[in-house]
């Protein structure tokens, strides 16, 4: 019986040990999991792209002038110079169906800006018709079929754009036949630009009503130099005219009647040749490559002397760029160089993401699939080369996260966080700098307010306060540490911020006037006979409260007086005029105070413990040697407790850095880089709280927010580890005392 029991007991003992070991290990594992999971999600943004050749399929077509695919790359279409469109299986090249689009052979098929599915088909005699290619998924039960459609726009009407000049430049990669025209289409107008044989630029504008075009207006621009290629700029309101030598002129054609040349310059260095030129998505910038392998991004910049093109950044390749295909939804591109190497680059991040030797230099047409996961290059011999692209996060690089980046539409490089924009033409702006700045700014002002109050309070409570009072004060302030920050944030945003705005002079005066009143009171207290004041030793804190309340009330009552006295009647206007400080209602002063309130209990509790734990024989020894209380405090107590106080400050800082709700509610959450105390900020934590719920899973934005969380994790982990190490050293030191 006993033997059986002991066997059972032994098993139970073993099982418990195993389970506890396993459980304990699992908890520790789960905790480290946080770090590794965040890292795992965030890491792919720094991974290079993967570029792989899928194969070559011969297409049953003679001379392809444009290719495209549907969203999911199940069907690829090729427009042939004979005026037909063929839909083929992108994997095998097998013909799905084909359709004749025009009765005339085509000189060019140009994608109508800014669409991605509408083509202008231009015949050799300058006749143009417009078609839109689209796909639809049909469901038969649970099985889906992809249908391809081609619509003729404007009732199938064709326009005559005039004769086509024949020139040697036609074989040049930057200027094929299609580059002699450009088309812009939005809801209300169709704009066409064409070069005529005399070298003039002809502009047409049609009003678009339903599906018909009417009220054509035309205008001729007579360029001073030769023009080989024309492109519309953003929203069809600009026109770039380029020759193959690299000279460019920029025309403002927002109003057709007042079209004017605003700027001319060169896209490539003097003496160099312009090999390839392509506008980027949205056409706020132009990519131009010279014969030396230098590819430069030119950004349209509105300056004091009108709008100009300025070089923003360059990429260098070993051999001259011979072809360039831009991505349909991003600011990236594929580049072919003269040695047949294919490169993937992205402008915003300035990253060279991948390279692949292909042996191809001059495709007759090339395209990215809409999701940028495939590249198709049609060669003049009718072969279709297929490439797979894994390039999910080209827009992010370590330098773009922290350094200034020159974005399209900006006059100069800036730090900016703007994760989404109203218009897809603009790139998202992912710079961590303003967020880090905001985080540190909020923490700085919080600590500025919290440190003196908490540490001085801890000094008094730990060293001077009567024990019977300390018994109440300490837990009271500790409970404050548990105060939900959402409440502090709510009070800060809805009660304190308007209060500060209306009584700015008073609030600022508080920081000076109240301590001064306190000192005056202390002086008068000191004049009282010792007999009267002695029983109140250790109760100064309680006595100070009515003084505080009265002096604060007095300051607020005198707000208008202070404002007139110090700030000329209007504090906010005074700050703007004298110091150039703008005023926001929800600003760093409000956040600093509110977050200070959240941090004070933490700092107070830990540093009070440290001060209270200073061994008694040290203080009595000091006093016995004739030092005053204050000398003992500053030279002995604080010195001994300083590691503890430091550790308290670090933990408080860690809390201020990661605090979310207060910042979210008490600032405007604008990602500014301005140390002005009267302006708001956006912190990492608040940014995550605002943006993560809206973020698309696994997008660059989503992963960046995980990276932000990781950065926050590391910052606080570092701060807390410092504090912990200091505290452990402190403990050993006290052990020796």
């Amino acid at each position: 019986m006993i033997a059986g029991l002991s066997w059972r007991r032994r098993i139970a003992d073993r099982v418990t040990a195993r389970l506890v070991g396993l459980g304990g290990g699992a908890i520790i594992g789960a905790i480290t999991l946080i770090f590794f999971y965040l890292l795992w999600v965030a890491a792919p943004i720094f991974r290079s792209a993967d570029l792989r050749e899928l194969g070559v399929s011969p297409l049953p077509l003679d001379s392809i002038i444009a290719v495209g695919t549907n969203d999911t790359v199940e069907s690829l279409y090729a427009i042939d110079a004979d005026g037909s469109i063929s839909f083929v299986d992108p994997d095998t090249g097998a013909l799905q169906r084909s359709e004749q689009l025009t009765p005339y052979p085509l000189a060019a098929a140009r994608l109508v800006f800014p669409t991605s599915d509408t083509y202008a088909l231009v015949g050799a005699d300058g006749t143009a018709t417009f078609v839109r290619v689209w796909f639809r998924r049909r469901f038969d039960g649970d099985i889906g079929y992809l249908e391809s459609h081609v619509d003729h726009l404007f009732g199938g009407d064709s326009l005559r754009l005039g004769g086509m000049p024949a020139r040697a430049a036609d074989d040049h990669p930057a200027t094929d036949q299609g580059s002699r025209f450009d088309f812009y289409l939005d809801e209300s107008v169709l704009r066409i630009a064409a070069l005529d044989p005399e070298g003039r630029i002809r502009l047409w504008q049609f009003e678009r009503v339903d599906d018909t075009l009417s009220f054509p207006r035309s205008e001729d621009l007579i360029p001073r130099t030769r023009v080989d290629r024309i492109d519309f700029g953003p929203r069809g309101r600009w026109l770039f005219a380029v020759d193959i030598e690299g000279a460019v002129t920029l025309h403002d054609i927002a109003d057709l009647d007042a079209a004017a040349r605003t700027w001319s310059g060169r896209l490539v260095p003097d003496g160099a040749e312009l090999l390839v030129m392509e506008p980027l998505l949205g056409r706020y910038s132009m990519m131009a490559a010279d014969g030396n392998g230098l590819l430069t991004q030119w950004i349209l910049r509105a300056g004091p002397h009108g709008t100009t093109l300025v070089p923003a950044r360059s990429f260098e390749f070993d051999a001259p760029v011979t072809a360039l295909v831009t991505e349909p939804r991003r600011k990236g591109m594929m580049v072919l160089d003269g040695q047949g190497a294919m490169h993937l680059v992205h402008t915003t991040s300035e990253r060279h993401l991948a390279s692949l030797p292909t042996g191809l230099t001059q495709p007759s047409a090339g395209v990215f699939s809409p999701r940028s996961d495939r590249i198709f290059l049609a060669m003049p011999d009718g072969d279709l080369h297929r490439y797979a692209v894994m390039n999910h996060h080209p827009e992010i690089s370590w330098s773009a996260l922290w350094e200034k980046v020159w974005y399209e539409g900006y006059p100069e490089p800036v730090h900016s966080w703007q994760s989404s924009s109203a218009d897809n033409d603009f790139e998202p702006k992912f710079s961590f700098s303003p967020l880090l700045f905001g985080t540190l700014k909020a923490a700085f002002f919080a600590m500025l307010f919290a440190t003196p109050v908490a540490v001085m309070g801890a000094v008094y409570t730990g060293y001077f306060m009567a024990p019977s009072m300390r018994r109440w004060v300490k837990p009271g302030i500790e409970i404050m540490a548990a105060m939900p920050t959402v409440i502090l944030g709510f009070l800060a945003g809805l009660w304190f911020a308007p209060l500060v705005e209306q009584n700015l002079a008073a609030v600022l005066s508080l920081f000076v006037a109240v301590p001064v009143c306190m000192l005056v009171f202390a002086w008068m207290w000191h004049l009282l006979p010792v007999r009267m004041t002695e029983p109140f030793d250790g109760w100064f804190a309680a006595i100070s409260i009515p003084v505080l309340v009265v002096s604060a009330w007095g300051v607020f009552a005198l707000d208008a007086e202070f404002e007139r006295l110090f700030f000329g009647g209007d504090a906010q206007a005074w700050f703007l005029a004298t110091l150039g400080l703008d005023y926001d209602q929800r600003n760093a002063l409000v956040v600093g105070t509110a977050m200070g309130m959240a941090v004070i209990p933490v700092i107070f509790a830990i540093s009070e413990d440290a001060i209270h734990a200073v061994p008694r024989h040290l203080t009595t020894g000091s006093l016995a040697l004739g030092a005053t209380r204050w000398q003992t405090l500053t030279r002995v107590v604080i010195l001994t407790a300083s590691p503890g106080i430091f550790s308290a400050l670090m933990i408080g800082l860690g809390r201020a850095v990661g605090e979310t709700m207060i910042v979210l509610m008490a600032t405007g959450n604008t990602p500014l880089m301005d140390f002005n105390i009267f302006q708001g900020m956006r912190t990492f934590a608040a940014n995550i709280a605002v943006e993560l719920p809206e973020s698309e899973v696994d997008s660059s934005h989503y992963r960046l927010l995980f990276l932000a969380a990781l950065v926050l994790f590391l910052i606080t982990f570092f701060i807390n580890t410092c504090a912990e190490l200091v505290r452990q050293r402190l403990r050993t030191r006290y052990g020796s005392l």
Binding site: R9, D13, T16, L19, V20, G23, G24, I27, I31, I34, V453, G457, V459, T461, F464, M465, A466, P467, P475, I477, I479, M480, A482, P484, V486, I487, G493, L494, W495, Q502, V514, P515, M518, L519, W525, V530, T533, D537, A541, A542, S544, R616, L623, T628, W630, R655, G658, M661, L664, M665, A685, I688, A689, P693, F713, T716, F717, N720, E724, L725
Partner: protein
């Protein structure tokens, strides 16, 4: 705190030694002592001030304030509750005539009748008010839509036919209002006992059918019949609801509002009516308690700016309970491992530092982790494996109660570990050794001796964790809280507890109503009241933990002695 029982022969005298020269006051450092004392004063008065502010503003809201009728200098009349008095600088308020006559007094008046008057609130310059009266017959209507209405009742109609007017209308209205309240209760009951379960059941049926299609198995024979039956029940309940709604529209009161216009108010939209100016203090107190009750047990109305916060209270409690159930075993096992089983050395010291650090990791980071790991990875996998038929609508792969609780459990597990470890450290070695010497195994020592002795510390840790969890908002915004949950996570529909549902939370309610609401001014008192409730919960939990710790410490001292 009892912790100073050991070292106290303080305080140190702060006045100067008698022989110190008086002019040395400044150099002696005494002013600094006063400034230090002031810092404590700042802390204490800030805490007290904030709590007082929240309490006063939160509790005052439910008091039925008198309705003032103010005749303005320009002959117009403003009727409403005086909400706030403000003194504005003339400099920032030019229309006062421009002359520098000191601060201008202006009153914020809640005039209600949003539908006809525009905003609920308006500012009135005190100087413009010619006379203020409090007529006893002014009534306040609390309505289901459009906020409060203020006015005099002039007539009562039934199906458009005049039933009573003047004073009779007020008396006649009371019984009819009771009828409306009963009808409304019946509507709510029909909705929750019939329509909601039927809807739920129908959705389950749809999903079950889809599963049969996906798996290629034949449909169970009863499905179609049950669906027909459910549809029939639904139609029946819908008819019932329509009848009730018609019945509620029967009566209407005519109100004369402040500018003399009359307004016909269907009684069906009225929750309560009172005449504050003729109420005694006792009546008001009764009304106050009733309002408080409605606030605590009612559903929110009008984009959460009115009505009660019961779903938020319920959601918070559910989430905290679930979290406590998860965090308790995790934290205790980890602490036992660290203190009782692991070999003490550098690794354990490092782990302990890590655990301490984790308590300092910002809560939003846990929220990010919870969203990515629990919701999308774990939840998404559960959906793929167990609920393919419900796709693409996520079941567990979306923020919900269970994920919020898990996330907060992870967030608070260091609190429990630290507290439990503290308790385990306090247990003298001799007790453990005695047990082992008597032949008990390590496991038996643990379960029969160590854990029971340490239980107050464990409980303290769990309570502190609960207090922390109750006040956290930032991570919850990512992993499961919504501004308005369509259903509570616990209801009468099997399986009764719906862990995957989204829920409401007091803290998020404060954020949402205070900052995202279309009518912040009207909602503000409710936010203060909600904040007060949340603070009380958190403070109560903390006090419980402190008291427990105190008792534990005294017990420990007895054990030592």
């Amino acid at each position: 705190m009892p912790s100073d029982t050991t070292t106290d022969s303080r305080p140190v005298p702060q006045t100067l030694p008698a022989d110190a020269p008086k002019e040395g006051w400044w150099r002696s450092g005494t002013p600094w002592i006063w400034l230090n004392a002031m810092a404590v004063g700042v802390g204490v008065s800030a805490v007290a001030g904030l709590l007082g502010l929240i309490a006063v503003r939160g509790l005052a809201h439910f008091w039925p304030a008198d309705v003032a009728v103010m005749g303005l200098a320009d002959g117009s009349i403003v009727m409403g509750e005086l909400v706030d008095v403000e003194y504005t600088d003339p400099a920032s308020f030019e229309q006062a005539g421009g002359q520098d006559a000191g601060p201008i007094e202006r009153w914020l008046v809640k005039t209600g009748n949003r539908r006809v008057n525009g905003p609920d609130f308006r500012w009135v310059l005190a100087a413009n008010v010619a006379d203020t009266r409090f007529p006893s017959d002014v009534a306040v209507f609390e309505r289901t839509e459009w906020g409060n209405a203020y006015g005099r009742i002039s007539a009562l109609y039934e199906n458009g036919v005049l039933v009573a007017n003047g004073n009779h209308a007020w008396n006649e209205m009371q019984s009819r209002l009771e009828r409306v309240v009963e009808l409304r209760e019946e509507m709510t009951a029909t909705q929750s006992t019939t329509i909601d379960p039927v809807n739920y059941r129908l959705e389950r049926l749809r999903i079950e059918r889809r599963r049969h299609v996906l798996e290629g198995t034949p449909e169970a024979p009863g499905l179609a019949a049950e669906e027909r039956r459910l549809h029939a029940t639904y139609r029946e309940a819908e008819t019932r609801l329509r009848t009730l709604a018609d019945a509620m529209r029967r009566d209407a009161v005519e109100i004369v509002i402040m500018d003399g216009r009359t307004l016909v108010q269907p009684l069906g939209d009225v929750m309560r009516v009172w005449q504050p100016n003729s109420m005694s203090v006792y009546d008001k107190l009764l009304h106050y308690m009733k309002s408080l009750g409605v606030f605590l047990t009612g559903e929110p109305r009008e984009a959460n700016t009115e009505g009660g916060i019961f779903p938020a209270i319920f959601g918070t409690v559910m989430m905290v309970l679930l979290m406590a159930v998860i965090v308790a075993p995790l934290g205790v096992v980890a602490a036992v491992y660290l203190r009782e089983y692991a070999r003490q050395g550098l690794p354990v010291r490092l782990i302990r530092i890590a655990v301490n650090n984790l308590a300092g990791v910002p809560s939003i980071v846990y929220g990010v982790f919870g969203l990515g790991f629990f919701v999308y990875l774990v939840g998404g996998t559960i959906d793929d494996v167990f609920y393919p038929e419900a796709q693409p609508a996520p079941t567990f792969g979306t923020p919900g109660l269970i994920w919020a609780s898990l996330t907060l459990a992870l967030l608070t597990v260091p609190v429990v570990i630290v507290s439990t470890e503290e308790g385990l450290t306090r247990i003298p070695r001799s007790i453990r050794e005695g047990s082992l010497a008597l032949g008990a195994t390590k496991a038996e020592t643990l379960f029969r001796l160590v854990l029971p002795v340490a239980s107050p510390s464990i409980l303290t840790g769990i309570i502190l964790a609960a207090a922390r969890a109750a006040g956290e908002v930032a991570p919850l915004m990512l992993v499961g809280v919504v501004k308005l949950a369509p259903a509570l996570p616990v209801d009468a529909i099997p399986p009764f507890i719906h862990l995957e549902r989204k829920f409401m939370h007091l803290g998020f309610h404060i954020y949402d109503v205070g900052f995202q609401s279309p009518n912040v001014e009207a909602a503000r008192p409710l936010v203060y009241a909600t904040a007060l409730l949340l603070i009380l919960i958190v403070i109560a939990l903390n006090l419980a933990a402190i008291m427990l710790r105190t008792r534990l410490e005294s017990r420990h001292e007895i054990a030592e002695a």
